[in-house]
Amino acid sequence: MMKKELKMEVDIGGVKIANPVMPASGAFGEGMDTVIDFNLLGALIPKSITKYPQRGNRNPRACETKGGMINSIGIQSKGLNYYLEETIPYYEQYSAPLISSISAESIGEFAEMSSIIASIPSVAALELNISCPNLKNNGQAFGMSDEVTYQLVDRVREVTDKPLLVKLTPNVTDIQSIALAAESAGANSLVVANTPLAMAIDIHTRRPKIGNIMGGLSGPAIKPIIVRQIYQVREVSRLPIIGCGGVMTSEDAIEMMLAGASAVQVGTANFVSPTAMIDIIEGIQTYMEEHQLNSLGELIGGVIVTNQWEEDYI
Protein backbone atom coordinates (compact mmCIF):
# COMPACT_ATOMS: atom_id res chain seq x y z
CA MET A 1 0.00 0.00 0.00
CA MET A 2 1.26 3.42 -0.84
CA LYS A 3 1.92 5.61 2.13
CA LYS A 4 -0.41 8.55 1.99
CA GLU A 5 1.23 11.92 1.87
CA LEU A 6 0.31 13.73 5.02
CA LYS A 7 -0.49 17.39 4.88
CA MET A 8 0.98 18.89 8.00
CA GLU A 9 0.71 22.37 6.51
CA VAL A 10 -1.28 25.03 8.28
CA ASP A 11 -1.93 28.69 7.74
CA ILE A 12 -1.47 30.80 10.81
CA GLY A 13 -2.95 34.03 9.57
CA GLY A 14 -1.09 34.64 6.36
CA VAL A 15 2.00 32.59 7.13
CA LYS A 16 1.92 29.09 5.68
CA ILE A 17 3.99 26.78 7.79
CA ALA A 18 5.05 23.27 6.85
CA ASN A 19 3.98 21.84 10.18
CA PRO A 20 2.22 23.19 13.25
CA VAL A 21 5.14 23.10 15.68
CA MET A 22 7.31 26.08 16.52
CA PRO A 23 9.29 27.24 19.53
CA ALA A 24 7.92 29.59 22.17
CA SER A 25 9.80 32.85 22.38
CA GLY A 26 12.43 32.89 25.10
CA ALA A 27 12.75 29.15 25.24
CA PHE A 28 14.64 28.68 22.00
CA GLY A 29 17.76 30.01 20.42
CA GLU A 30 20.92 29.58 18.44
CA GLY A 31 22.42 27.33 21.11
CA MET A 32 20.09 24.54 20.02
CA ASP A 33 21.31 24.32 16.44
CA THR A 34 23.74 21.51 17.16
CA VAL A 35 20.97 19.42 18.69
CA ILE A 36 18.10 19.75 16.23
CA ASP A 37 17.66 20.71 12.61
CA PHE A 38 15.90 24.08 12.62
CA ASN A 39 14.61 23.48 9.10
CA LEU A 40 12.31 20.77 10.39
CA LEU A 41 10.36 23.28 12.49
CA GLY A 42 7.19 25.01 11.36
CA ALA A 43 8.64 28.42 12.17
CA LEU A 44 11.47 30.01 14.12
CA ILE A 45 10.83 32.49 16.91
CA PRO A 46 13.79 33.96 18.76
CA LYS A 47 13.50 35.56 22.18
CA SER A 48 11.47 38.77 22.39
CA ILE A 49 13.53 41.75 21.42
CA THR A 50 13.46 45.19 23.05
CA LYS A 51 14.43 48.49 21.49
CA TYR A 52 17.42 49.09 23.72
CA PRO A 53 19.77 46.56 25.26
CA GLN A 54 18.60 45.58 28.72
CA ARG A 55 20.12 43.39 31.41
CA GLY A 56 17.01 41.66 32.61
CA ASN A 57 15.97 40.88 36.16
CA ARG A 58 18.12 39.92 39.05
CA ASN A 59 18.96 36.33 39.99
CA PRO A 60 17.57 33.82 40.63
CA ARG A 61 15.63 33.97 37.42
CA ALA A 62 14.06 30.54 37.35
CA CYS A 63 12.93 27.87 39.75
CA GLU A 64 11.04 24.62 39.56
CA THR A 65 7.58 23.91 40.88
CA LYS A 66 5.55 20.70 40.82
CA GLY A 67 4.96 20.02 37.15
CA GLY A 68 6.26 23.38 36.09
CA MET A 69 8.76 26.17 36.43
CA ILE A 70 8.65 29.87 37.15
CA ASN A 71 10.83 32.30 35.24
CA SER A 72 11.40 35.96 35.42
CA ILE A 73 14.18 36.66 33.00
CA GLY A 74 12.88 40.14 32.36
CA ILE A 75 13.69 40.06 28.66
CA GLN A 76 17.44 40.27 28.71
CA SER A 77 18.07 41.68 25.28
CA LYS A 78 20.87 43.00 23.15
CA GLY A 79 18.61 45.61 21.62
CA LEU A 80 17.17 46.23 18.19
CA ASN A 81 20.42 47.02 16.42
CA TYR A 82 22.04 43.76 17.40
CA TYR A 83 18.85 41.99 16.39
CA LEU A 84 18.90 43.53 12.93
CA GLU A 85 22.61 43.01 12.43
CA GLU A 86 23.12 39.60 13.97
CA THR A 87 19.97 37.72 14.89
CA ILE A 88 17.96 38.11 11.69
CA PRO A 89 20.92 37.32 9.42
CA TYR A 90 21.64 34.22 11.52
CA TYR A 91 18.12 32.91 11.02
CA GLU A 92 18.20 33.70 7.31
CA GLN A 93 20.31 30.58 6.78
CA TYR A 94 17.22 28.49 7.54
CA SER A 95 14.27 27.92 5.25
CA ALA A 96 11.69 27.83 8.06
CA PRO A 97 9.96 31.19 8.32
CA LEU A 98 11.24 33.65 10.90
CA ILE A 99 8.73 35.24 13.25
CA SER A 100 10.04 38.14 15.31
CA SER A 101 8.73 38.51 18.84
CA ILE A 102 8.63 42.10 19.98
CA SER A 103 8.44 43.49 23.49
CA ALA A 104 8.14 47.20 24.15
CA GLU A 105 7.55 49.71 26.90
CA SER A 106 4.81 51.68 25.17
CA ILE A 107 2.38 51.48 22.31
CA GLY A 108 4.48 53.93 20.36
CA GLU A 109 7.58 51.84 20.85
CA PHE A 110 5.70 48.72 19.69
CA ALA A 111 4.74 50.53 16.50
CA GLU A 112 8.22 51.90 15.95
CA MET A 113 9.94 48.56 16.40
CA SER A 114 7.32 46.72 14.36
CA SER A 115 7.75 49.07 11.46
CA ILE A 116 11.52 48.59 11.42
CA ILE A 117 11.52 44.81 11.85
CA ALA A 118 8.63 44.19 9.47
CA SER A 119 10.55 45.98 6.75
CA ILE A 120 13.18 43.23 6.69
CA PRO A 121 12.14 40.84 3.89
CA SER A 122 13.23 37.69 5.72
CA VAL A 123 10.91 38.39 8.62
CA ALA A 124 7.71 36.45 7.83
CA ALA A 125 5.57 37.77 10.65
CA LEU A 126 5.65 39.66 13.93
CA GLU A 127 4.60 38.35 17.30
CA LEU A 128 3.54 41.07 19.71
CA ASN A 129 4.36 40.06 23.26
CA ILE A 130 1.73 42.13 25.02
CA SER A 131 1.60 39.67 27.86
CA CYS A 132 4.96 39.44 29.54
CA PRO A 133 4.14 39.42 33.24
CA ASN A 134 7.62 40.39 34.32
CA LEU A 135 8.13 43.85 33.03
CA LYS A 136 5.59 46.02 34.73
CA ASN A 137 4.73 46.41 38.34
CA ASN A 138 2.85 43.57 39.94
CA GLY A 139 2.57 41.66 36.72
CA GLN A 140 0.57 44.28 34.86
CA ALA A 141 0.75 43.79 31.11
CA PHE A 142 -0.72 45.57 28.09
CA GLY A 143 -2.76 42.50 27.31
CA MET A 144 -4.74 42.74 30.54
CA SER A 145 -7.04 45.39 29.12
CA ASP A 146 -9.14 44.98 25.99
CA GLU A 147 -8.91 48.70 25.27
CA VAL A 148 -5.14 48.84 25.51
CA THR A 149 -4.91 45.66 23.44
CA TYR A 150 -7.08 47.23 20.77
CA GLN A 151 -5.07 50.45 20.67
CA LEU A 152 -1.77 48.65 20.61
CA VAL A 153 -2.64 46.23 17.82
CA ASP A 154 -4.37 48.98 15.90
CA ARG A 155 -1.26 51.18 15.99
CA VAL A 156 1.00 48.36 14.88
CA ARG A 157 -1.47 47.41 12.15
CA GLU A 158 -1.04 50.89 10.71
CA VAL A 159 2.68 50.45 10.19
CA THR A 160 2.82 47.03 8.58
CA ASP A 161 0.95 44.60 6.38
CA LYS A 162 2.95 41.65 7.58
CA PRO A 163 1.02 39.04 9.57
CA LEU A 164 0.63 39.99 13.22
CA LEU A 165 0.53 37.32 15.88
CA VAL A 166 -0.71 38.70 19.18
CA LYS A 167 0.38 36.81 22.26
CA LEU A 168 -2.29 37.04 24.93
CA THR A 169 -1.85 36.83 28.65
CA PRO A 170 -3.75 34.12 30.54
CA ASN A 171 -3.96 36.39 33.59
CA VAL A 172 -7.34 37.87 32.75
CA THR A 173 -10.92 37.47 33.83
CA ASP A 174 -12.22 37.31 30.30
CA ILE A 175 -9.81 36.21 27.59
CA GLN A 176 -12.59 36.31 25.00
CA SER A 177 -12.91 40.07 25.17
CA ILE A 178 -9.15 40.52 24.82
CA ALA A 179 -9.11 38.13 21.86
CA LEU A 180 -11.92 40.05 20.19
CA ALA A 181 -10.15 43.36 20.80
CA ALA A 182 -7.01 42.03 19.11
CA GLU A 183 -9.05 40.58 16.27
CA SER A 184 -11.00 43.72 15.55
CA ALA A 185 -7.82 45.78 15.65
CA GLY A 186 -6.43 43.64 12.85
CA ALA A 187 -4.46 40.79 14.40
CA ASN A 188 -3.91 37.88 12.03
CA SER A 189 -3.58 35.23 14.67
CA LEU A 190 -3.64 34.82 18.42
CA VAL A 191 -1.08 33.08 20.55
CA VAL A 192 -2.94 31.60 23.52
CA ALA A 193 -1.19 32.25 25.81
CA ASN A 194 1.77 33.45 27.81
CA THR A 195 2.44 32.38 31.42
CA PRO A 196 0.17 32.60 34.48
CA LEU A 197 1.77 34.88 37.04
CA ALA A 198 3.20 32.85 39.89
CA MET A 199 5.39 32.88 42.97
CA ALA A 200 7.33 30.45 45.12
CA ILE A 201 9.04 30.96 48.46
CA ASP A 202 11.94 29.06 49.96
CA ILE A 203 10.64 28.16 53.40
CA HIS A 204 14.11 27.99 54.92
CA THR A 205 15.56 31.28 53.70
CA ARG A 206 12.08 32.87 53.58
CA ARG A 207 13.09 34.47 50.30
CA PRO A 208 11.10 34.34 47.07
CA LYS A 209 12.66 31.75 44.80
CA ILE A 210 12.66 34.33 42.02
CA GLY A 211 14.69 37.52 42.34
CA ASN A 212 11.87 39.51 40.79
CA ILE A 213 9.49 38.01 43.42
CA MET A 214 6.94 36.88 40.83
CA GLY A 215 7.35 35.27 37.45
CA GLY A 216 5.59 33.29 34.79
CA LEU A 217 4.56 29.68 35.32
CA SER A 218 5.23 27.38 32.39
CA GLY A 219 5.32 23.66 31.73
CA PRO A 220 2.86 20.77 32.05
CA ALA A 221 1.12 22.25 35.10
CA ILE A 222 -0.53 25.03 33.10
CA LYS A 223 -1.72 23.04 30.09
CA PRO A 224 -5.31 22.53 31.34
CA ILE A 225 -5.71 26.28 31.84
CA ILE A 226 -4.37 27.00 28.37
CA VAL A 227 -6.53 24.33 26.69
CA ARG A 228 -9.54 25.95 28.31
CA GLN A 229 -8.51 29.39 27.05
CA ILE A 230 -7.92 28.09 23.52
CA TYR A 231 -11.41 26.61 23.58
CA GLN A 232 -12.87 29.87 24.87
CA VAL A 233 -11.08 32.00 22.28
CA ARG A 234 -12.13 29.62 19.53
CA GLU A 235 -15.75 30.11 20.57
CA VAL A 236 -15.67 33.81 19.74
CA SER A 237 -12.89 34.39 17.24
CA ARG A 238 -12.27 33.02 13.78
CA LEU A 239 -8.57 33.89 13.82
CA PRO A 240 -6.09 31.03 13.76
CA ILE A 241 -4.95 30.23 17.27
CA ILE A 242 -1.47 29.16 18.27
CA GLY A 243 -1.62 27.19 21.49
CA CYS A 244 1.18 27.80 23.96
CA GLY A 245 1.67 26.55 27.49
CA GLY A 246 2.63 23.11 28.68
CA VAL A 247 3.06 21.31 25.38
CA MET A 248 5.49 18.51 26.21
CA THR A 249 4.36 15.75 23.85
CA SER A 250 2.49 15.27 20.60
CA GLU A 251 -0.57 14.30 22.65
CA ASP A 252 -0.52 17.75 24.23
CA ALA A 253 -0.22 19.39 20.82
CA ILE A 254 -3.10 17.35 19.43
CA GLU A 255 -5.22 18.18 22.47
CA MET A 256 -4.68 21.90 21.85
CA MET A 257 -5.49 21.48 18.18
CA LEU A 258 -8.72 19.67 19.05
CA ALA A 259 -9.54 22.58 21.37
CA GLY A 260 -9.10 24.97 18.47
CA ALA A 261 -5.42 25.68 17.89
CA SER A 262 -4.01 25.64 14.37
CA ALA A 263 -0.47 25.30 15.66
CA VAL A 264 1.44 25.12 18.91
CA GLN A 265 4.47 26.70 20.47
CA VAL A 266 6.83 24.69 22.62
CA GLY A 267 8.81 26.29 25.42
CA THR A 268 9.75 24.51 28.62
CA ALA A 269 9.75 21.12 26.87
CA ASN A 270 12.87 22.24 25.00
CA PHE A 271 14.72 22.45 28.30
CA VAL A 272 13.61 19.01 29.36
CA SER A 273 14.42 17.52 25.99
CA PRO A 274 15.89 19.68 23.23
CA THR A 275 14.54 17.26 20.63
CA ALA A 276 10.99 17.69 21.96
CA MET A 277 9.76 19.73 18.97
CA ILE A 278 10.95 17.11 16.50
CA ASP A 279 9.39 14.33 18.59
CA ILE A 280 6.12 16.28 18.65
CA ILE A 281 6.07 16.70 14.88
CA GLU A 282 6.67 12.99 14.42
CA GLY A 283 4.05 12.14 17.00
CA ILE A 284 1.43 14.24 15.24
CA GLN A 285 2.32 12.49 12.00
CA THR A 286 1.85 9.08 13.59
CA TYR A 287 -1.47 10.14 15.07
CA MET A 288 -2.64 11.35 11.67
CA GLU A 289 -1.73 8.03 10.15
CA GLU A 290 -3.41 6.03 12.89
CA HIS A 291 -6.56 8.12 12.72
CA GLN A 292 -6.40 8.34 8.92
CA LEU A 293 -6.43 12.11 8.78
CA ASN A 294 -5.52 13.70 5.46
CA SER A 295 -4.90 17.15 6.79
CA LEU A 296 -4.68 18.98 10.06
CA GLY A 297 -7.89 20.76 9.17
CA GLU A 298 -9.67 17.59 10.27
CA LEU A 299 -8.18 18.04 13.70
CA ILE A 300 -8.34 21.76 14.42
CA GLY A 301 -11.28 22.59 16.66
CA GLY A 302 -12.39 18.97 16.37
CA VAL A 303 -13.36 18.44 19.99
CA ILE A 304 -16.79 16.84 20.18
CA VAL A 305 -19.11 18.50 22.62
CA THR A 306 -22.56 17.01 22.34
CA ASN A 307 -24.88 15.27 24.71
CA GLN A 308 -23.75 11.93 23.43
CA TRP A 309 -21.08 10.16 25.38
CA GLU A 310 -19.14 7.12 24.39
CA GLU A 311 -20.13 4.14 26.41
CA ASP A 312 -17.30 3.64 28.83
CA TYR A 313 -17.56 -0.09 28.65
CA ILE A 314 -19.44 -2.45 26.38
Partner: protein, 261 residues
Protein backbone atom coordinates in the same frame (compact mmCIF):
# COMPACT_ATOMS: atom_id res chain seq x y z
CA UNK B 1 26.73 19.61 22.18
CA UNK B 2 24.30 16.82 21.46
CA UNK B 3 21.65 14.71 23.09
CA UNK B 4 23.19 11.33 24.02
CA UNK B 5 21.81 8.19 25.62
CA UNK B 6 24.77 6.70 27.42
CA UNK B 7 24.95 3.37 29.19
CA UNK B 8 25.63 3.45 32.90
CA UNK B 9 28.77 1.45 33.69
CA UNK B 10 28.67 2.09 37.41
CA UNK B 11 26.81 4.31 39.86
CA UNK B 12 27.97 3.98 43.44
CA UNK B 13 27.86 5.82 46.71
CA UNK B 14 31.34 6.95 47.70
CA UNK B 15 30.72 8.84 50.93
CA UNK B 16 27.74 9.75 53.05
CA UNK B 17 26.54 12.38 50.59
CA UNK B 18 28.44 11.75 47.37
CA UNK B 19 27.92 9.37 44.50
CA UNK B 20 30.12 8.47 41.58
CA UNK B 21 28.67 7.69 38.17
CA UNK B 22 30.57 6.27 35.22
CA UNK B 23 29.05 6.29 31.75
CA UNK B 24 30.15 4.61 28.57
CA UNK B 25 30.99 7.58 26.37
CA UNK B 26 32.35 5.68 23.39
CA UNK B 27 29.66 7.08 21.10
CA UNK B 28 30.67 10.67 21.80
CA UNK B 29 32.94 11.99 19.09
CA UNK B 30 33.13 15.60 20.24
CA UNK B 31 36.01 16.74 22.42
CA UNK B 32 35.26 16.89 26.10
CA UNK B 33 37.35 19.27 28.17
CA UNK B 34 37.75 19.91 31.90
CA UNK B 35 35.42 22.68 33.07
CA UNK B 36 32.69 21.67 30.67
CA UNK B 37 29.50 20.12 31.93
CA UNK B 38 26.68 17.85 30.90
CA UNK B 39 23.02 18.50 31.55
CA UNK B 40 21.65 15.21 32.82
CA UNK B 41 18.06 14.06 32.78
CA UNK B 42 17.59 12.72 36.25
CA UNK B 43 14.55 10.60 35.49
CA UNK B 44 13.70 8.23 32.70
CA UNK B 45 10.02 8.46 33.43
CA UNK B 46 7.55 11.06 32.19
CA UNK B 47 6.79 12.18 35.70
CA UNK B 48 8.21 15.65 35.15
CA UNK B 49 9.54 15.37 38.68
CA UNK B 50 11.90 16.97 38.74
CA UNK B 51 11.05 18.80 35.56
CA UNK B 52 14.42 20.11 34.50
CA UNK B 53 17.75 18.53 33.77
CA UNK B 54 20.60 18.89 36.23
CA UNK B 55 24.05 20.19 35.28
CA UNK B 56 27.16 18.32 36.38
CA UNK B 57 30.78 19.05 35.62
CA UNK B 58 32.98 16.44 34.15
CA UNK B 59 34.91 14.75 36.92
CA UNK B 60 37.16 12.46 34.94
CA UNK B 61 37.48 11.69 31.26
CA UNK B 62 38.99 8.46 30.11
CA UNK B 63 39.04 6.88 26.69
CA UNK B 64 35.55 5.55 26.65
CA UNK B 65 34.29 6.56 30.06
CA UNK B 66 32.88 9.77 31.36
CA UNK B 67 32.75 10.18 35.11
CA UNK B 68 30.68 12.39 37.37
CA UNK B 69 30.90 12.93 41.08
CA UNK B 70 27.70 14.26 42.55
CA UNK B 71 26.32 15.28 45.87
CA UNK B 72 22.82 14.13 46.75
CA UNK B 73 20.92 17.35 47.36
CA UNK B 74 17.30 17.12 46.39
CA UNK B 75 14.89 15.32 44.09
CA UNK B 76 17.10 15.37 41.02
CA UNK B 77 20.23 13.92 42.53
CA UNK B 78 18.15 11.46 44.55
CA UNK B 79 16.70 10.20 41.27
CA UNK B 80 20.16 10.00 39.76
CA UNK B 81 21.17 7.48 42.39
CA UNK B 82 18.52 5.07 41.12
CA UNK B 83 20.22 4.49 37.77
CA UNK B 84 21.52 0.95 37.55
CA UNK B 85 24.46 -0.30 35.49
CA UNK B 86 23.20 -1.16 32.03
CA UNK B 87 20.48 1.48 32.04
CA UNK B 88 20.63 4.41 29.66
CA UNK B 89 20.89 7.94 30.91
CA UNK B 90 20.07 10.89 28.70
CA UNK B 91 22.69 13.60 28.80
CA UNK B 92 23.11 16.80 26.87
CA UNK B 93 26.59 18.14 26.26
CA UNK B 94 29.45 18.66 26.38
CA UNK B 95 28.46 22.21 27.17
CA UNK B 96 30.20 25.41 28.05
CA UNK B 97 33.63 26.96 27.91
CA UNK B 98 36.36 24.73 29.37
CA UNK B 99 39.34 25.75 31.49
CA UNK B 100 42.26 26.90 29.43
CA UNK B 101 45.85 26.07 30.28
CA UNK B 102 48.64 28.12 28.80
CA UNK B 103 51.25 26.02 27.02
CA UNK B 104 54.07 27.38 29.13
CA UNK B 105 52.28 26.74 32.42
CA UNK B 106 54.61 24.89 34.80
CA UNK B 107 52.93 25.19 38.19
CA UNK B 108 49.28 25.64 38.99
CA UNK B 109 47.25 26.23 42.08
CA UNK B 110 43.79 24.71 42.54
CA UNK B 111 41.36 25.96 45.17
CA UNK B 112 38.19 23.90 45.41
CA UNK B 113 35.35 23.57 47.81
CA UNK B 114 32.61 20.96 48.09
CA UNK B 115 31.39 19.71 44.74
CA UNK B 116 33.87 22.12 43.16
CA UNK B 117 36.50 19.48 43.87
CA UNK B 118 34.94 17.29 41.18
CA UNK B 119 35.27 20.10 38.65
CA UNK B 120 38.93 20.74 39.42
CA UNK B 121 39.76 17.04 39.51
CA UNK B 122 39.14 16.92 35.75
CA UNK B 123 41.52 19.82 35.34
CA UNK B 124 44.18 18.18 37.47
CA UNK B 125 43.90 15.05 35.35
CA UNK B 126 44.64 17.04 32.22
CA UNK B 127 47.32 19.22 33.79
CA UNK B 128 49.15 16.17 35.09
CA UNK B 129 49.25 14.82 31.56
CA UNK B 130 50.91 18.11 30.60
CA UNK B 131 53.47 17.53 33.35
CA UNK B 132 52.37 20.57 35.30
CA UNK B 133 53.07 20.68 39.01
CA UNK B 134 49.77 21.02 40.77
CA UNK B 135 49.17 22.34 44.28
CA UNK B 136 45.61 21.83 45.42
CA UNK B 137 43.70 23.14 48.39
CA UNK B 138 40.49 21.22 49.01
CA UNK B 139 37.91 22.59 51.39
CA UNK B 140 34.75 21.01 52.73
CA UNK B 141 32.53 20.98 55.76
CA UNK B 142 33.53 17.55 56.92
CA UNK B 143 36.34 15.12 56.21
CA UNK B 144 33.73 12.84 54.72
CA UNK B 145 32.83 15.53 52.18
CA UNK B 146 36.43 15.74 50.98
CA UNK B 147 35.82 13.66 47.95
CA UNK B 148 38.28 12.68 45.29
CA UNK B 149 41.29 13.31 47.48
CA UNK B 150 42.76 10.04 46.20
CA UNK B 151 42.34 11.18 42.62
CA UNK B 152 43.79 14.56 43.41
CA UNK B 153 46.77 13.11 45.23
CA UNK B 154 47.51 11.00 42.19
CA UNK B 155 47.71 14.03 39.94
CA UNK B 156 48.95 16.72 42.31
CA UNK B 157 52.31 17.51 43.82
CA UNK B 158 50.66 18.56 47.05
CA UNK B 159 47.12 18.40 48.34
CA UNK B 160 46.03 20.48 51.35
CA UNK B 161 42.74 19.54 52.94
CA UNK B 162 40.83 21.93 55.15
CA UNK B 163 37.45 21.45 56.83
CA UNK B 164 35.11 23.15 59.25
CA UNK B 165 35.23 19.94 61.23
CA UNK B 166 38.94 20.43 61.84
CA UNK B 167 38.58 24.19 62.16
CA UNK B 168 41.01 24.67 59.28
CA UNK B 169 38.77 25.95 56.54
CA UNK B 170 38.37 29.59 57.54
CA UNK B 171 39.36 32.15 54.95
CA UNK B 172 42.33 33.29 57.05
CA UNK B 173 43.88 29.86 57.13
CA UNK B 174 43.29 29.27 53.44
CA UNK B 175 44.86 32.62 52.71
CA UNK B 176 47.96 31.60 54.61
CA UNK B 177 48.30 28.29 52.81
CA UNK B 178 47.96 30.07 49.50
CA UNK B 179 50.35 32.76 50.56
CA UNK B 180 52.98 30.17 51.42
CA UNK B 181 52.44 28.37 48.14
CA UNK B 182 52.74 31.53 46.12
CA UNK B 183 55.84 32.55 48.04
CA UNK B 184 57.48 29.17 47.71
CA UNK B 185 56.65 28.26 44.14
CA UNK B 186 56.37 30.26 41.01
CA UNK B 187 52.65 29.71 40.39
CA UNK B 188 51.71 30.40 36.75
CA UNK B 189 47.98 29.96 37.00
CA UNK B 190 45.25 29.44 39.55
CA UNK B 191 41.83 27.86 39.27
CA UNK B 192 38.89 27.74 41.61
CA UNK B 193 35.41 26.31 41.92
CA UNK B 194 32.73 25.79 44.55
CA UNK B 195 32.85 28.78 46.86
CA UNK B 196 32.11 32.41 46.35
CA UNK B 197 34.09 33.44 49.40
CA UNK B 198 37.16 31.51 48.33
CA UNK B 199 36.79 32.78 44.77
CA UNK B 200 36.86 36.34 46.05
CA UNK B 201 39.92 35.56 48.12
CA UNK B 202 41.69 34.04 45.16
CA UNK B 203 40.62 36.96 42.99
CA UNK B 204 42.36 39.36 45.37
CA UNK B 205 45.50 37.29 45.81
CA UNK B 206 46.05 36.47 42.17
CA UNK B 207 45.49 40.06 41.21
CA UNK B 208 48.05 41.17 43.77
CA UNK B 209 50.51 38.61 42.50
CA UNK B 210 49.80 38.93 38.79
CA UNK B 211 48.70 35.32 38.42
CA UNK B 212 46.27 34.34 35.68
CA UNK B 213 43.24 32.72 37.22
CA UNK B 214 39.97 31.16 36.21
CA UNK B 215 36.81 30.27 38.04
CA UNK B 216 34.10 27.75 37.19
CA UNK B 217 30.76 29.16 38.33
CA UNK B 218 27.71 27.15 39.29
CA UNK B 219 24.72 29.35 38.60
CA UNK B 220 21.18 27.96 38.52
CA UNK B 221 20.48 26.70 35.01
CA UNK B 222 17.20 25.95 33.31
CA UNK B 223 18.18 25.12 29.73
CA UNK B 224 21.96 24.69 29.83
CA UNK B 225 22.06 25.56 26.11
CA UNK B 226 22.36 29.32 26.17
CA UNK B 227 18.78 30.07 25.26
CA UNK B 228 16.91 30.94 28.46
CA UNK B 229 19.15 33.46 30.28
CA UNK B 230 18.49 31.89 33.70
CA UNK B 231 22.11 31.33 34.57
CA UNK B 232 23.54 34.77 34.16
CA UNK B 233 26.34 36.39 36.07
CA UNK B 234 28.04 39.74 35.76
CA UNK B 235 31.48 40.17 34.25
CA UNK B 236 33.38 43.39 33.87
CA UNK B 237 35.31 43.83 30.66
CA UNK B 238 37.16 47.04 29.90
CA UNK B 239 35.24 48.73 32.67
CA UNK B 240 31.83 47.72 31.33
CA UNK B 241 29.61 45.27 33.16
CA UNK B 242 28.07 42.59 30.97
CA UNK B 243 25.43 40.14 32.11
CA UNK B 244 26.48 36.87 30.51
CA UNK B 245 25.23 33.30 30.49
CA UNK B 246 27.30 30.98 32.61
CA UNK B 247 26.22 27.94 30.57
CA UNK B 248 27.30 29.27 27.19
CA UNK B 249 29.72 32.11 27.91
CA UNK B 250 31.03 30.14 30.92
CA UNK B 251 30.90 28.31 33.27
CA UNK B 252 34.65 29.03 33.22
CA UNK B 253 35.54 32.72 33.29
CA UNK B 254 38.76 34.64 33.85
CA UNK B 255 38.55 35.21 37.60
CA UNK B 256 39.45 38.87 37.39
CA UNK B 257 36.40 39.58 35.20
CA UNK B 258 33.77 38.14 37.51
CA UNK B 259 31.75 40.59 39.58
CA UNK B 260 30.71 38.80 42.77
CA UNK B 261 27.55 40.30 44.28
Amino acid sequence: MKDYNLTVLSNRQVSSRYWHMILDSSIIEEDIEPGQFFNIKSTVHQTYYPLLRRPFSIYLINDDALEFLYKVEGAGTKQLTTYQPGEKVNILGPAGVPFSIKKDCKKMLLLARGVGIATLAALSQKAAQMNIDIYAILSARKQDDLLATKTMEKYCKNVYCVTEEDGTSDVENVREIMHDLIETHHIDAAYTCGSKRLSMLLQKMTKANGITSQVALEEYMACGMGVCYSCVCDVKRQGVIHTVRSCEDGPVFPLEEVVFQ
